[in-house]
Symmetry: C2
Subunit: 231 residues, 2 copies
DNA sequence: AAACGCGACAGTGCATACACATTGGAATAC
DNA sequence: GTATTCCAATGTGTATGCACTGTCGCGTTT
């Protein structure tokens, strides 16, 4: 399950701009660039060993995805403006709830069993897994639900929103390991019981939704990012 | 001397790639290109009187927005695959309902009054307005609700979804003029009464949601588009 | 006549070059 | 010492050229 959404050949030699897009997305998720930082095209082009032309094509895609912003002259990493982060989390809640509802209607028993097995395995390795690994598992759980909702647009939208709040989720994951796991279990159980209302309620509770909590995560994110950069 | 801030927003002299993006989006919404059609870069670059470099940057943004697709070698207009259109409408329903709910909680009385006035004016000019004009009014109504929901991400997402189903909406608008208007009125009245459940229900009913209806609109769209192209 | 081959063409993907804007700093004036 | 002006350096936005690849037409072969 949770196959990647690339129907193209696996190790096929993709174009430079596609590779650049994928690599930059990865680096942005990993906070290689700081919020608000300006993007130096020649520097990145050099580091990726390509020219500026395909690089700029990738940058333009990232802008359309909200992973970069276009400031008339040059690109930069979006800042962590609280209002925007609030909006992103709120939008995520709405879409996650929609996918949960649809998954309740459409998921097959065997698929839910598979997801249950996945959760069991996740819980086994959870205690001593890295935060990166935990996030990976978390994303996989939510993406699988979106897959079971049978709506590619919602799934894609959700994936994009998650990209844009990756850092904050990363920060907030610390100290919520067991809580996250048990909530996942609860959500899944409600889906398996086809209790749509309960599943939605659990999902709504599961996602960071209190603005104070989000704000705290934002502050922690700043701390994390700057100590890391100065280290 | 301290100069005032630059006109970064309005009709400022935007870059070629930005202009190209705006113009192409417009042309795509107006179905200047047929579903599935391949994009010839030199031809379009010539027609827009720019070179291929900024054009390709615009094309890449449009791909990220789902208004074009990237087929390994070259770009093309997305086809009207029913599954994708179903997904788009379904996603739209979910997000519209989310914005209606939020608008119910957050909109101020004066704002709702303004929207009511807008509807009244729309109804006045409705009987003999062009379909283009009707769509414009329709979009404005829904976008205003999204604005009242106070969530830029949801609003932006909605705008993008609406772009992607613009043709189908255009087709389906014919013969639904009064129905659309009265449903808008109904939705707004529920919002003003802060009756969230009723507002959501009305919105859900308002948006094209039966797959048979959508399929019919798709067929009509093909007819529309091909007769128009051969004319 | 059909199949094959091949050469010219069309069209994309990328690198490079250039024009222009912005910025930082040094030199100079006050 | 501060302010100002000018120039160099930096960096973006766009045009152009080139290489490569897929395609189509036409002639050759059997």
């Amino acid at each position: 399950m949770a196959k990647e959404t690339k129907p193209a050949k696996a190790g096929a030699p993709m174009s430079s701009s596609h590779r650049a897009h994928a690599q930059l997305r990865e680096q942005l998720l990993r906070s290689k660039f700081l919020p608000g930082q300006k993007i130096n095209e020649v520097e990145i082009a050099t580091s990726l060993e390509i020219s500026r032309t395909p690089l700029r094509e990738a940058l333009n895609r990232l802008v359309a995805e909200g992973l970069l912003v276009d400031r008339g002259r040059g690109f930069s990493v979006p800042g962590l403006e609280p209002e925007m982060v609030f909006d992103l989390f709120e939008a995520r809640v709405e879409i996650e709830c929609a996918t949960v509802r649809l998954a309740c209607e459409r998921a097959e028993e065997t698929e839910l069993e598979g997801l249950s097995d996945f959760l069991k395995e996740s819980m086994a390795e959870s205690p001593d897994a890295s935060v990166d690994r935990l996030i990976e598992l978390d994303i996989r759980f939510h993406d699988t639900i979106a897959e079971l909702a049978r709506n590619k647009v919602l799934r894609q939208t959700l994936s994009n929103l998650n990209d844009r709040i990756h850092l904050i989720r990363w920060i907030a994951m610390e100290g919520r390991r067991e809580r996250t796991q048990s909530q996942h279990r609860e959500i899944l159980d409600h889906i398996r019981a086809r209790d749509t209302a309960a599943a939605i309620a659990a999902m709504r509770e599961h996602i960071l939704h209190r603005n104070e909590d989000i704000l705290e995560a934002i502050k922690a994110a700043y701390g994390h990012v700057y100590t890391r950069s100065s280290a």
